[in-house]
């Protein structure tokens, strides 16, 4: 009976021992996902407009529009790529064929460490030596430790303005999601996002106006 209990306990223990990959294995670049609408033919469009502000969600209680330098850099990245594909930028023109709207989402996750040995760093080589504060044998935390990590994402929609009708939603021709863990500074995140915007167009070769043909 004791052996059965021992083996049963071992099986339950084993089931909790999944070794997760190390986050530092990542190349630290944003994931880029793009998706066109069904049967969309971009060659029939020639002009585009792009929202002059970035919609920011998650930085305050309510969504806000930003025209900061960082916001403008992302807007500019889309404008440059669209022009490279032959579309003509027509700002504030009600007759533009395409409209582009950008949304930046920032989200902070919080969780409490529950593992059996949550304070692994106390044994980390170079961590505060136990003798630093006197003749102590080590350290412990008398409380749970809460961690946070932050993710951010850039969502972009290209909408069809040629079929705009009052009271009807705009047709979304293309959407992209660029996202990942936030870096050490917003400047570095913006640089990574600019590169990701370029990648979004690289993997969407069908976004091409007749102007380039």
């Amino acid at each position: 009976m004791k052996k059965i209990l021992l083996i049963s306990a071992a099986v339950m223990l084993l089931a909790a021992c999944h070794k997760e990959p190390y986050p530092q294995d990542s190349d630290n670049e944003y994931l880029v996902y793009t998706s066109p609408g069904k049967n969309v033919d971009f060659s029939q469009y020639q002009t585009f407009d792009i929202a002059d502000s970035l919609l920011v969600i998650g930085q305050s209680d309510k969504p806000m529009y930003s025209q900061s330098n960082n916001a403008l850099a992302l807007i500019q990245a889309f404008r440059v790529n669209m022009e490279k594909r032959g579309f003509i930028y027509t700002p504030s023109n009600p007759d533009a064929d395409l409209g582009i709207q950008l949304t930046y989402v920032i989200k902070t996750e919080r969780f409490v460490q529950y593992y059996d040995d949550p304070y692994w760093w106390l044994d980390y080589p170079g961590y505060w030596p136990s003798g630093y504060w006197g003749n102590w044998t080590g350290f412990y935390y008398p409380r749970p430790v809460t961690y946070t990590y932050t993710t951010n994402a850039l969502l972009t929609d290209i909408v069809n303005l040629t079929t705009e009708e009052d009271g009807k939603p705009l047709e979304i021709l293309w959407t992209s999601y660029i996202g990942g863990a936030a870096g050490s500074s917003i400047q570095s995140d913006i640089k990574r996002m600019e590169a990701a915007v370029d990648q979004a167009f690289v993997q969407s070769p069908y976004i091409t106006s007749t102007q380039t043909k």
Binding site: K3, L6, L14, K19, E20, S26, E29, L31, V32, Q203
Partner: protein, 197 residues
């Protein structure tokens, strides 16, 4: 290794504590390589095992076992294009977690302090396949039938005690399937090092 085992076998003396003992428990660390599949082909040491049995005859034992191992593989950045023209560019980590358990049969060739043996394990395997992309994880799990032949050696260097060591090598096959990752069975090879009672 075969030669070393043979030398140990033929030079071994009688072990006292293990002679009359009919039950055994082994456990320790195992290094597993997942092979011949389209999901993760990697070798990792994130595993452990425990097994025990009872010698129903002086040489033949039946018992139970359980083990686990994780095999992780990093896939550098690639662009994946789908049939609807959507596309995904990312690096990712794939993780294959396997927990087989069931019945084991063991035949030992000697009842000395060196006990070479062959074993066959039959049971079921619970497996989880995970793909980590940026801040997302895609995960699915499944069950399969599990078989594993094994060759090994238990060594009891302290004749007055039941304490010894174990070394073994194994192959395993489980029938787990996952259509999303084109997994049609899980093959593994590996070795394990542990203690024996």
């Amino acid at each position: 290794m075969i030669l070393a085992v043979a030398v140990l076998v033929f030079t071994a003396g009688e072990a006292s504590a293990q002679m009359g003992k009919r039950e055994y428990i082994n456990g320790g660390w195992q290094y597993n390589g997942s092979i011949a599949n389209n999901f993760v082909e990697a070798g990792n040491g994130y595993g452990a095992y425990i097994e025990g049995g009872y010698y129903v005859t002086p040489m033949f034992a039946v018992g139970g076992f359980a083990s686990f191992n994780t095999n992780n593989q990093y896939v550098p950045k690639q662009t994946y294009t789908f049939s609807d023209n959507s596309a995904l560019t990312t690096d990712l980590d794939r993780s294959l977690y396997q927990v087989p358990f069931g019945m084991t049969m063991r035949y030992r060739f000697l009842r000395t302090e060196f006990q070479p043996y062959v074993a066959a394990k039959i049971g079921t395997e619970y497996s989880v396949q995970s793909t980590y992309m940026s801040t997302f994880v895609s995960r699915s799990d499944n069950w399969g039938f599990y078989v594993s032949p094994e060759i090994g050696l238990t060594f009891f260097p302290f004749p007055a005690t039941d304490f010894g060591f174990q070394i073994a090598a194994y192959y395993s096959y489980a029938t787990n399937q996952n259509r999303s990752y084109d997994i049609k069975g899980l093959n593994n090879v590996g070795f394990k090092l542990g203690i024996a009672f």
